[in-house]
Amino acid sequence: MWKWLHPYAKADRAYQLCNTLLPYFAVVTVVCMVVGWVWGLAYAPADYQQKDSYRIIFIHVPSAILSMGAYSSMAIAAVVALVWQLRNAELAVIAIAPVGACVTAIALITGAAWGKPMWGAWWVWDARLTSELILLFLYLGVLSLYHAFEDKKAAGRAASILAIVGVINLPIIHFSVEWWNTLHQGATITKFDTKAIDPSMFWPLMLNIVAFAAFVGTVTLIRLKNEILQREKHRPWVRQLLNRG
């Protein structure tokens, strides 16, 4: 692990790595998103029960999946940052956090918008919606803790610790909310479906999930590049870079 990571402990190498990866992520994002959305929103068949309103899953489901995915990658970066004392990993934590928070917010908003025609209310205390809301709080906690510190070095480490504490708690929170929900209002919510999803809907959904993942990756890489430049702005290699550009 260390051998593989070691070269990227240096900020300029990490910056170069971001630059190399960025085009791939960007291309995958654009291609998958365009194809996925057109396919999903225009060509995929309408649901026999929910008609066209189900089409929001092509945004809702990918964002919900990615909200969790982004949190886990943030926590992994946090572990790397604390265990191997890699400053770049701390920057990665703080690069992912706002992206994850936005994705979570998208999942919540689309969830509410979907809930209106389905359940007749913008907000119901559905277990998954509630967990998602708490996840948003956790993201916001990491962000506000980071911005509360003046010393950005300490800020990165504090945010990493909180991210790890959060990821340990996340399954417990998720489980408890699920359990609380079945206890309090079990039958009010009809689950979307229990049977397997039709291939004509499945493939555009998969495509959209890939698109969203690549999108999160792209934005994170751009943010990470900025964070690295911000932190290293007095170093010679950044000056060189700026002079060249």
Binding site: K153, A154, L162, I172
Partner: protein, 228 residues
């Protein structure tokens, strides 16, 4: 100057100091309790004094009030030590920091959590709880308030170095309190229906065990960040 390493000595010294300090400024112990009492008084005023309704809402009221009142004391847990430099001395002691932290959290619980547990019968009276629910409330508070202290101390450790850490700390900590709240109130609810609630207690107990083992490590690393 010989050193005799005894973890017990360290543990009791740290615990004793915090208790001593708390008893010298008794307001520290009394104020969160008064706060708890006032919050509980507010609820009947806000939702109406009907006994059935109060008994139905009592678990929620007691637990939300307990969450808020432990938040009040949390800010203090490391703040003085941070400002007078004792925290640095504790870090630079040859003992492992998590042990020191464990002692401090225990002392904090004895100052804030334990009095709550002891005073529960009074609150139960105010909210029209029957004896079954009272027993359940006492047990859940006994298991749950140390858990609140442990989780809260992580937030306190992270924010102790900040100028205005108080509100931020609540933002960090309250979402993490949710599982405790859910299982504790559900245990009390179940008890009012004369059903077995040992499952919820077992989960609370399991969470407490996990917290005792892992929280001190998180708190220590948080404190090291705050001191740097």
């Amino acid at each position: 100057m010989q050193r005799q390493h005894s973890y017990l000595q360290l543990f009791s010294a740290v615990c004793k100091k915090d208790l001593q300090l708390a008893f010298r400024q008794r307001a520290e112990i009394v104020n969160p309790l008064l706060f708890f009492l006032i919050v509980i008084t507010l609820f009947p005023l806000a939702i109406g004094p009907e006994p059935g309704l109060l008994a139905r809402m009592a678990p929620g009221i007691i637990w939300v009030a307990a969450l808020l009142s432990t938040m009040l004391g949390l800010d203090k847990i490391f703040r003085d030590d941070f400002h007078d430099g004792s925290l640095e001395q504790l870090i630079a002691s040859s003992y492992p920091l998590p042990l020191t932290v464990l002692a401090k959290v225990l002392a904090h619980w004895m100052i804030t959590g334990l009095p709550l547990v002891l005073l529960t019968p009074v609150f139960a009276l105010l909210l029209n709880l029957d004896s079954q629910a009272l027993v359940a409330t006492v047990i859940t508070l006994l298991l749950g308030t140390p858990l609140l202290s442990f989780i809260g101390a992580i937030g306190a450790g992270l924010t102790v170095g900040l100028q205005k850490g108080g509100i931020l700390m609540s933002l960090l900590v309250l979402p993490l309190y949710i599982p405790v709240l859910i299982f504790a109130t559900s245990a009390i609810d179940t008890s009012t229906m004369s059903l077995d609630y040992s499952g919820q207690l077992a989960i609370l107990g399991a969470m407490l065990v996990v917290a005792i083992i892992s929280a001190p490590i998180a708190i220590s690393s948080a404190l090291k960040v705050s001191v740097s």
